[in-house]
Symmetry: C2
């Protein structure tokens, strides 16, 4: 297809497509004649992936390129490629060295929940320690105390995520699903958490004047 | 304290503090003499809250102001204020009208999990429908099929979130905790989900040459 059709199919403006090609994020099309370049389904797929990372994942373009480059390195086996890509997807902003207590708390959570393969990856544990530090600074120690509920939920979701990946056999497909799943999985969870908040919070904080009908209050 | 100390205590540059005061996001300090303004602990607290929303929540300043304005409206009871603030915190970017199937899928998930108070809030259900649409576009139908696992995890986390809020009695504190909890709770969960990924994925995709030592494979 021509670049115009590629643009219509993906909702990405022609100028942006050209920019992605220049930046090496999208492979160029096949030159089929004078001043004519043809794009295929793989371009549609790649463009949608890039847009999901940029829009839903709020990742900067440089980060997107880094992730896609790492995913396509054929030298790596799946586990190692998953690790490299997953590390590249971690927080974009630099995480400052966390306070010792916060780091200790993060390690304790990981240990309690059996994430022993994560323990050597200090950079990744630091991301959790950073959130803990922010919570503490904001006086939200109570949420830190409830970390185990979060960890159990995270474990549940991670198991379903990896089960889904395991059902696929093609290496590139596994990596692509992992990239999409990491970014969109957070958004998927967050959207549902907020719907659940409406329900649970409505039950709990219902204004007294509405509370007379308590039959549905459990 | 002087503005310089406020800056040191919160890590927010003096120029940024002045900008927040001009924008009405932070109350001005108390004028205590010629060319001298004094700030208190409430300023420290408010600044930390603003920074958490901006840095961890990636919310634009205009959104932060909207959220804080709504939270401080004394006319509203807690449930209604929670609702208003929670809606204000939803996705910053406009969510396009989702495809009918995606919206139906989102409603079906909410119904299956008993989130009946969320059903009338179409704008909020649309956020979930939007994620579903993106997943479908990217060929991730399998993740949509696993929505119930995500929903169960979201319900678990939402219950612990609201339980934490219920333990507080001051209206402003409840609202502040809710704002922080919504933004940082997503980050808290995401950091743990990724640590759990390392563990579960390592077990599943371990390269064959390492797989001989299977004792820890469960």
């Amino acid at each position: 297809m021509r670049i115009g059709e590629l643009s219509v199919r993906t909702g990405v403006p022609v100028a942006t497509i050209k920019y992605y090609v220049r930046e090496g994020i999208l492979a160029g099309g096949e030159r089929t004649g004078y001043n004519q370049v043809s794009y295929g389904e793989e371009h549609v797929r790649r463009l949608r992936l890039v847009r999901a990372l940029v829009e839903t994942g709020s990742l900067p373009i440089a980060k997107v390129r880094e992730i896609l480059d790492k995913a396509s390195d054929p030298e790596r086996d799946v586990d190692s490629a998953l690790g490299v890509v997953s590390r590249a997807m971690d927080k974009t902003r630099e995480v400052a060295e966390p306070a010792r207590d916060d780091l200790a708390e993060a390690y304790a959570i990981a240990e309690r929940h059996g994430w022993k393969r994560a323990l050597p990856q200090r950079e990744r544990v630091k991301v959790l320690a950073d959130v803990i530090g922010t919570l503490r600074l904001l006086g939200m120690d109570e949420l830190i105390e409830r970390a185990d509920d979060y960890a159990r939920a995270a474990q549940m979701v991670a198991e379903t995520d990896i089960e889904m990946l395991s059902a696929q056999s093609d290496r590139d497909e596994i990596l692509e699903s992992m990239i999409i799943g990491t970014v969109l999985g957070d958004a998927f969870f967050s959207a549902m958490r907020r719907l659940a908040h409406i329900e649970v919070s409505g039950r709990r904080f219902k204004a007294p004047r509405e509370a007379r009908d308590d039959t549905d209050r459990e």
